[in-house]
């Protein structure tokens, strides 16, 4: 790449550098600072000064050091080799960095984002020379992992007549696979192309969101479902389960590709994914989870400005897979750390702060990020989606702070984590009172169609019971449970069972960690059957104590552990036993 000196360092304040003598730098241009060639980006131009955000530790950088411009914006490389890789916030492969600098990340390391040595078997589409290539069109494919067929796309910035296209064969990503006659002359085609991380990739059309992303987490799928292409925030104080929830979704959801962004969080959590995913088998394909996952790790001790970029790097990779016609789920843990990085950089640039020191453009940035989600018709005519699932870490667990509040404005689904539930080890600690999903109506059609009718009604019924319980609990808190009649105490009881049996889901249990839609439906049906028949029985004079003592009630509470996803017919037996027990009970009272 041609390099030119665009200016010299004038001032260094942490990751922010002021450059002087700048004449031809471009906004958002990728630059390199000093002889160590630290990666940076131009974020402000003012007269002959430029402000540069540096993605590496700036220790040792001094006034007078040269700044080199690359002539292109900060971009990612999109092509085969992404899957199963762990990158830092600006798409540098951490495994490669490990080979060069061992356990500690040195600065100024320059490694290609995608391997230049690896060859891929390219399978061209049947396209004759002279064919018209439109932006984003699929021209061939590479079997990237056993699971993922990587479609090779015409870069969205290129169109023209195909001049030639290689036949089937082995190619490195830098080997041309063809060429195209464009308005600006002939251009080579490769297995990969560049795309600037801050610019959403173009699509043909936004489509309505009406297919749920099935996560296997009961409280989510049944109570607060998320649609494919949707946006959701998971706010919660420390230790309430944001990361665990995101890990669980990354493992078990029915997206084709997962992009997991560890943004300013713990190193060990990334290691956890790296050690676990290659061994976990995806129940839908029988292949390991690593074969569909890309990781972006910019942990809390890595440079702050790369944390700011990591979110965009991740979502750009996701859009790229969407453009191939895949459903992609992006986990961003945590968007608060990204917002804080914005705040820190803004502070160092001495911008006027708005709320709590955050820059006034925070809401715009949050909105821009979540706008990149969607269920799309791609430029090549396929359908694909990007679902964005962002954790929010509010200071002091207080949801009234700016990041939570602004995020709430731009997402349509909200899984609020509750400190009390987490303290009681009720996991996932998603509050059934504070959470909501605006996708409920959009996806209920899918559930009724694929899960059998009654889904919406049953969900409504249990939600109603949960809200009744709140009111009854208020009474209990004043006068004790004995003051309530059995019929009302029974509601409390059913809600307790529902929480223990259904809402709580143990991520560490081999059977419970993930529930199919069928299992969720059957569990809910059985609990509601117990409620309806139990309420009848109480009317006939059966006492609550007798009902609770039925052995089958214990079995219902433990069925999440005892009945696996493959043994759905066991639920029929369980329900039959429930009915029998109740029949016997009622007979004593006729």
């Amino acid at each position: 790449m041609s390099e030119r000196i665009i200016g010299q360092v004038k001032r260094v304040n942490g990751p922010v550098i002021v450059a002087k003598g700048v004449t031809d730098a471009m906004m958002m241009e990728l630059v390199r600072v000093g002889e160590a060639r630290l990666v940076g980006e131009v974020i402000k131009l003012e007269g002959e000064n430029a402000v540069i955000q540096v993605y590496e530790d700036t220790t040792g950088i001094a006034p007078g050091h040269n700044i080199y411009g690359s002539g292109m914006p900060l971009s990612v490389e999109l092509g085969p080799g992404l899957i199963g890789t762990i990158y830092d916030g600006i798409q540098r492969p951490l495994e490669e960095i490990y080979k060069i600098s061992n356990q500690f990340i040195e600065k100024g390391i320059n490694v290609p984002n995608l391997s230049r040595d690896k060859s891929w078997e390219f399978q061209p589409m049947n396209l004759a020379p002279g064919a018209w290539l439109s932006p984003g069109m699929i021209i061939g494919q590479v079997q990237e992992t056993e699971r993922i067929v990587h479609k090779i796309l015409v870069p969205p910035t290129i169109e023209g007549k195909l001049k030639k296209l290689a036949g089937q064969g082995m190619f490195k990503i830098t080997d041309p696979i063809g060429s195209v006659e464009t308005e600006k002359g002939e251009k080579d085609l490769f297995l990969f192309h560049h795309w600037p991380i801050r610019k959403p990739r173009p699509t043909a059309q936004r489509l309505p969101l009406n297919i749920p992303l099935i996560t296997g987490q009961r409280v989510i799928d049944t109570l607060f479902p998320i649609a494919k292409g949707g946006t959701v925030a998971i706010p919660g104080g420390f230790g309430t389960g944001k990361t665990m929830t995101q890990h669980a979704i990354a493992k078990w959801c029915d997206a084709t590709i997962i992009v997991y962004i560890g943004c300013g969080e713990r190193g060990n959590e990334m290691t956890d994914v790296l050690t676990e995913f290659p061994h976990l088998v995806d129940p839908r394909t029988g292949l390991t989870l690593m074969q569909r996952t890309v990781l972006i790790a910019n942990t809390s001790n890595m440079p702050v400005s790369a944390r700011e970029a990591s979110i965009y790097t991740g979502v750009t990779l996701a859009e790229y897979f969407r453009d191939q016609g895949y459903h992609v789920a992006v986990m961003a843990d945590s968007t608060s750390r990204w917002a804080e990085a914005l705040r820190e950089l803004s502070g160092r640039m001495e911008e006027m702060p708005a709320e709590e020191g955050f820059p006034a453009y925070l809401p715009t940035r949050i909105a821009e990020f979540y706008e990149r989600a969607g269920y799309m018709k791609t430029l090549s005519g396929e359908e694909g989606s990007v679902t964005l699932i962002g954790a929010v870490s509010p200071p002091g667990g207080d949801f009234s702070e700016p990041v939570t509040q602004h995020t709430k404005r731009f997402v349509r689904c909200f899984w609020g984590l509750d400190r009390q539930l987490a303290n009681a080890r009720h996991y996932p600690a998603i509050s059934w009172l504070d959470s909501y999903s605006e996708y409920l109506n959009d996806v209920s059609g899918w559930w009724e169609e694929n899960g059998g009718s009654g889904w919406e009604k049953n969900r409504g019924e249990i939600m109603e019971l949960l809200h009744k319980e709140v009111r009854l609990q208020q009474v209990v808190k004043l006068v004790g449970p004995d003051a309530l009649p059995d019929s009302q105490r029974f509601i409390l009881d059913v809600c307790t069972i529902f929480k223990n049996a259904f809402l709580q889901q143990n991520a560490f249990d081999d059977i419970d960690r993930y529930s199919t839609t069928k299992k969720q439906i059957r569990m809910l049906e059985i609990i509601l059957a117990y409620y309806q028949r139990g309420a009848e029985a109480i009317k006939r004079g059966v006492t609550l104590v007798k009902l609770k003592r039925m052995k089958v009630v214990q079995d219902i509470i433990k069925c999440k552990f005892s009945i696996s996803n493959d043994d759905i017919q066991e639920f029929d037996k369980l329900q039959a036993r429930l009915e029998r027990s109740l029949d016997q009970m009622e007979q004593l009272y006729v």
Partner: protein
């Protein structure tokens, strides 16, 4: 303009030797110097006062017109015209060696026990470098501390960072000392060391730890870095970094298992706030700088295990929560970085329960992979989960009882009250000298659970009930 990029190593040395006489401004621990040669960000600075005493510092902001330095030993006694400043052209490093064990140093790593400075095996940058996540080994080795509420419910894992969130006057020092004394790994003797960093604590706290290490005969395995209450507050900012640099050397160059005790992180954070205020930075919550999270992460993330290395760093930071408020930025941001927390409860301490570990807000995030079959005992995960669930219900019942009176409780709720009592008195509470094996701990757990009827135990399996339940 002379191009700094072309400056050779020898020229750099020459520049590093150049001395500037007189500084432009002194504000708190910060010194401002004008018209220097191009000085690097975070370069080491030597500031010599008029009596010839050299103080170390660091460049915080550098530009053509002015360079801002923070002086670790404080600026008291410095004068504007007579101070001389040298920029060293390199970051702050300390010489480290395993010979530092058994010795006492100040926050910058200079001996203060009267002995000579030990011969360094390596010169390391005190700021360390971020560990590559691909180089990490996920920690899963159970450390038995002999303390039931930790081993049973908030298990400590080798390589974990597990802070104690305490309050003024609560026995956090005792607990830390007890952990340091009793910690062992099942089935093996290994090379271990303790690195102790004191930031702004009183002399008697430091003395307490020294005596405690002495009395158990481990003092020769301990390196102490003391920056006490009467030392310049700015020195506290470097103390944990110095300590962690030695810890990294011991763990990753010397194959040792290192326990790092850092106390009191609240004092550290206050020094950081002080600098930030003087620099006129925009504060976030309660006047603390917006980068407090990242700054703490730079410390806490210097722990763990690495692939291909035998040693490990386990961190036990202690912090006192201002006003016992867990949502205060210091405990809050710490909790967001560490792998769990041991939270103290004043009310339990008042009821004479030692250690006064609050059952519900305490958490160990790494225990999941370090307990159970083959590591502790097969029933451990479910038992812990059941104890948490039951104890959380106890809290509800107690609240209810305080409103409607204990007599009005249902028989079942009475059983829960009994369980709660037994849990706190028998399971949580233990002696300062008492060292329980994990089996004892789990057995006591079942013993107190047996106050509850079997139908209430949803989180344990039928087989576990069969084997261990005594109700």
């Amino acid at each position: 303009m002379s191009d700094i990029n072309q400056i050779s190593k020898t020229q750099k040395k020459l520049l590093a030797g150049r001395e500037y006489i007189g500084v432009h401004r002194i504000d708190g621990p910060l010194v401002f110097i004008q018209k220097t040669h191009p000085v690097g960000y975070r370069e080491l600075v030597e500031c010599v006062d008029k009596d010839g005493h050299t103080r170390l510092g660091l460049v915080l902001d550098t530009s053509e017109s002015v360079v801002v330095c923070q002086i670790f030993e404080g600026t008291s006694g410095l004068t504007m015209p007579d101070s001389r400043v040298r920029f060293k052209g390199e970051p702050l490093t300390i010489g480290v060696t395993s010979k530092m064990l058994g010795r006492v140093f100040n926050g910058l790593g200079m001996p203060i026990d009267g002995g000579p400075a030990p011969l360094a095996e390596a010169e390391l940058d005190v700021n360390g470098k971020p560990i590559n996540p691909t180089a990490r080994e996920y920690p899963r080795d159970f450390i038995q501390t002999g303390i039931s509420v930790i081993d049973g419910m908030n298990t400590l894992i080798r390589g974990q960072k597990l802070p104690i969130f305490s309050g003024n006057g609560l026995p956090h020092n005792e607990l830390a000392a007890q952990i340091a004394r009793q910690a062992k790994i099942k089935g093996g003797k290994t090379d271990f060391a303790v690195v102790f960093a004191a930031m702004g604590v009183k002399h008697d706290v430091a003395q307490y730890f020294i005596r405690s290490f002495e009395s158990t005969g481990v003092l020769e395995n301990v390196a102490l870095f003391l920056s006490l209450a009467d030392d310049p507050s700015i020195e506290r900012l470097i103390t944990p970094r110095t300590a962690l640099t030695l810890a990294e050397h011991l763990a990753f160059n010397k194959d040792m298992h290192v326990l790092v005790i850092m106390t009191d992180m609240s004092n550290y954070c206050e020094s950081l706030r002080e600098i930030s205020t003087i620099r006129g930075e925009i504060p976030s919550r309660k006047g603390y700088p917006g980068y407090l999270y990242s700054d703490l992460a730079e410390l806490y993330e210097r722990s763990g295990m690495l692939k291909g290395f035998k040693g490990s760093i386990t961190q036990l930071p202690i912090l006192t929560m201002p006003n016992d408020d867990i949502s205060h930025p210091i405990p809050d941001l710490s909790g967001y970085i560490t792998e769990g927390q041991i939270v103290f409860e004043r009310e339990m301490y008042a009821r004479n329960i030692y250690p006064p570990v609050a059952g519900l807000p305490s958490l160990s995030r790494l225990m999941k992979d370090g307990i159970g079959e083959g590591m502790t005992r097969n029933d451990h995960p479910h038992l812990a989960s059941q104890l948490f669930a039951a104890y959380s219900y106890v809290k509800d019942v107690r609240n209810l009882a305080s409103v409607i009176g204990e007599e009005e409780l249902t028989p079942l709720d009475h059983q829960y009250m009994e369980f709660g009592e037994a849990f706190e008195k028998k399971f949580v509470s233990q002696g300062f000298e008492e060292d329980r094996s994990i089996e004892e701990t789990l057995d006591i757990g079942w013993e107190v659970l047996s106050h509850l009827p079997v139908e209430e135990l949803h989180r344990v399996t039928d087989e576990e009930i069969e084997t261990y339940y005594k109700g």
